[in-house]
Amino acid sequence: MTASILTVDDSPSLRMAVRIALTGAGYTVTEAGDGAEGLAKASAQRFDLIITDLNMPRMDGLTMIRELRTKPTMAGVPIVFLTTESEDGLKAQAKAAGATGWLVKPFNSDQLVKIARKVLGR
């Protein structure tokens, strides 16, 4: 069974890049445009991995991660957030909120796939 991944980002082009890279590696990808949509989708369906931006309208990534971690079904599901070099403070906050790992922008598809493989395990 292929792993299903939810990508949450308010930037459609970034979601598209994530989708292309991950579907290319054989994963199934679902997209959400902000934290609220991401939370709704992740509540309705179980994903094997969630990749999220932090800065988003409506509901930011930190809040979404925190909300997701309160759900028993979300225990153990890896959540990787996308960040930039300048956000070191956010990194600690996101981890405290329950994120598993992160990926620093700009990244290329190989780096993204590598991270997905890493957190999904064998």
């Binding site: 970034l14 292309i20 329950g98 992160w102 290329n108 890493k118």
Partner: protein, 656 residues
């Protein structure tokens, strides 16, 4: 939008981001310190930087970084969102747009052009020095001992995955220590208490091992001890610097594809309708297969299909609709800039921003509206020192409003300025020979003179407007959208220019008429009334080709003659009075068939030059009806009328 081209998607998205940042900045000028707005600006810049760097727009990402940093300081309360800062960032947005247009081809000159803007931003920017890169160390083997934080498994870390990764590095011996695992009664099964000891053999660097634990390294216990003495740091330098992976983002200069952003619920609605249509179609199939036709059932299906196709038409049209707020939003910046340039204080009020208009209309409205707004700000609004004596507030006011009325959208640009000086318009019109000196002319007609080519009453040519181009272009653009312009002006109080636009360009309500054997569609919005042609006119005893419509003389065209129909004429000829703008003309037809919804098909390349028709449509019975171009017919009739008045002896039965 190409579904698989993130670069193209990014260009569209970045344009929208720049717009939303601009909007938020302009809002900030009115509502300084609004947290939500500051966050919106920051978030927009942040996304622009992040995505820009992803898709090869390095110059853009680099530049945006500085703006983002500046706004981050505002966000953290270390700096104020001052007028000065907002102005700098606004100009920075324009520059970002040019970087966006240049893409990865941004040359040194363009990049250097941003330095001035950055200098203005510099006070708010402080760059942290880059951390020195650690030197990698290599050893023959390692003893690794680690304990994950208790919540590691809940937050998605997988100890087995980590062990697998260590195994991928080299030969591994793994021992698990359970000493710290609580007794079963006290055990929370979601927590991780085990300690692992791993002996790793091979040519592995300490960084490789740390890399495995990259996401948890700050919160965990990790001891990495070398099995052999570590080599000195100097040796490590021979390791090749990691080569950066080539950017995949191939630059494309393909023309921007037109795309529409559609709300998901509208698509769902469309899918629902299509689903219902499929059901109706299968019901129809059942009826056809039954052999005997039950009229009742057939009628029920027919009614369903009729309803569904009407709904489908509306929903699919709605896909192309956009709120005018998209359009009005662009003008806030324009007015901000105009206020700067003219030194006037200008207040912008918008009304009815939720009114929806076809996307094409919105796009093609921007330029004409810019002209009108420039004119209003430059010529219409008086300088503050003239406003006070007139009893007006110092700030000039521009009101943009939109509302729907029937099949039309009305967009009004209103100013509370000095109004149009009729005497000057008349003098100018007479000087240009547009009207005869001293001729009697209606007020509306006089005001319409400002739309004549080359017409300008501006005493001085300014940077903003008054070059004598513009208003006639405005009129042409609006007419190209099958719209009309109405102008109202009260001297000393202000001017209102109202654009009447069709709701959509794809479907219009038409009156279907018959001339000889041919059927023609006349856009219903242009139809004013229908009359019977008086007997005297039918007989052709009158040569004037004018009708007396309640005291107004209206010229008329015999479409039979225009279209050279040799089919015998009906006994009672009808006249459809059509009007557009100031012109009115009667069209003589054989029969008025009724109203019809018309899906406009454009004429082929070969027929595109035929002036009297604006398109064609397919009728219910499969026949084609041509759609009359009312503006061209009115123009033709007026020309014929002038020709006749010059050569009264001849009759002109000319085709429009």
């Amino acid at each position: 939008m190409s579904d698989n081209d993130p670069v193209a998607a990014f260009r569209i998205e970045a344009g929208e981001l720049l717009e939303s940042v601009e909007r938020a900045l302009l809002d900030l000028t009115e509502d300084a310190g609004n947290r939500a707005l500051i966050d919106e600006v920051f978030r927009g810049l942040h996304t622009l930087k992040g995505s820009g760097s992803m898709f090869g727009f390095d110059a853009l990402a680099g530049f945006t970084h500085h703006c983002e940093t500046a706004f981050d300081r505002v966000r953290k309360g270390q700096a104020a969102a001052s007028r000065g800062l907002i102005d700098v960032v606004l100009s920075a947005l324009d520059y970002m747009q040019s970087l966006l247009d240049a893409g990865s081809d941004a040359d040194a000159a363009l990049v250097a052009a941003g330095d001035g803007i950055l200098a203005a931003l510099a006070s708010a920017v402080s760059d942290a020095p880059a951390a020195a890169a650690p030197t990698p160390a290599v050893a023959k083997g390692w003893q690794v001992r680690f304990r994950l934080p208790p919540e590691a498994m809940v937050t998605g870390s997988n100890p087995l995955g980590l062990l697998d990764e260590l195994r991928d590095l080299g030969d591994c011996t793994v021992t698990c220590r359970f000493e710290d695992v609580p007794a079963l009664a006290d055990l929370d099964p979601t927590e991780c208490h085990a300690v692992w000891e791993v002996t790793l053999a091979g040519d592995i660097s300490r960084e490789d091992i740390e890399d495995v634990f990259v996401f948890v390294i700050d919160d965990m216990e990790l001891e990495i001890t070398s099995l052999a003495p570590e080599p000195s740091a100097g040796v490590a330098e021979t390791a090749a610097a990691p080569t950066e992976a080539p950017r995949a983002a191939a630059r494309q200069t393909a023309p921007a594809q037109e795309s529409v952003r559609v709300q998901a619920e509208r698509l769902d609605e469309l899918m629902n309708r299509v689903g219902e249509l499929v059901i109706a179609q299968s019901r129809l199939e059942l009826i056809a297969a039954a052999g005997t036709i039950d009229a009742m059932t057939l009628r029920a299906v027919s009614e369903d299909i009729q309803r569904l196709s009407a709904e489908l038409r509306d929903t699919s049209m709605a896909l192309r609709m956009m709120p005018v707020s998209n359009l009005f939003g662009r003008f806030r910046r324009l007015i901000h800039d105009l206020a700067h340039e003219t030194g006037k204080t200008i207040e912008l009020v918008t009304e009815g921003e939720a009114t929806e208009v076809d996307k094409t209309v919105i796009e093609r409205l921007a330029d004409p509206m810019i002209h009108v707004i420039r004119n209003s700000c430059d010529h219409g609004l008086e300088p503050a020192d003239e406003r006070a004596p007139a009893g007006k507030p110092a700030a000039g006011r521009i009101v943009l409003s939109a509302r729907q009325a029937g099949g039309e959208v009305l967009i009004a640009i209103q100013d509370d300025g000095r109004g149009i000086n009729r005497a000057r318009v008349r003098a100018k019109a007479e000087a240009q020979g547009l009207i005869a000196p001293g001729a009697t002319i209606g007020d509306g007609e006089l005001l319409q003179m400002i739309f004549a080519p080359g017409f300008s009453t501006a005493a001085a040519i300014t940077n903003l407007s008054g070059r004598g181009v513009g208003m006639d272009v405005v009129k042409r653009s609006i007419e190209a959208l099958r719209g009309t312009i109405e102008i109202e002006s009260i001297e000393g109080t202000g001017t209102t220019i109202t654009l009447h636009l069709p709701l959509t360009l794809a479907i219009i309500e038409c009156m279907l008429v018959r001339v000889g054997e041919g059927r023609y569609a006349i856009p219903l919005s242009a139809v004013e009334e229908c009359l019977e042609l008086p007997a005297a006119e039918v007989a052709g005893t009158s040569r004037r080709n004018f009708l007396d419509v309640r005291g107004d003389l209206v010229p008329y065209l015999r479409l039979r003659d225009s279209f050279a129909s040799d089919h015998p004429a009906d006994l009672y000829q009808k006249v459809v009075i059509v009007g557009q703008g100031r012109g009115r003309v009667g069209l003589v037809v054989d029969q008025i068939i009724g109203n019809t919804q018309t899906v406009i098909k454009s004429l082929s390349r070969f027929h595109g030059g035929v002036g009297a028709f604006s398109g064609a449509t397919i009728l219910g019975d499969g026949n084609v009806a041509l759609i009359l171009d009312v503006a061209a017919l009115i123009g033709g009739a007026q020309k014929a009328q002038r020709a006749r008045s010059e050569r009264p002896a001849e009759t002109a039965g000319e085709a429009a």
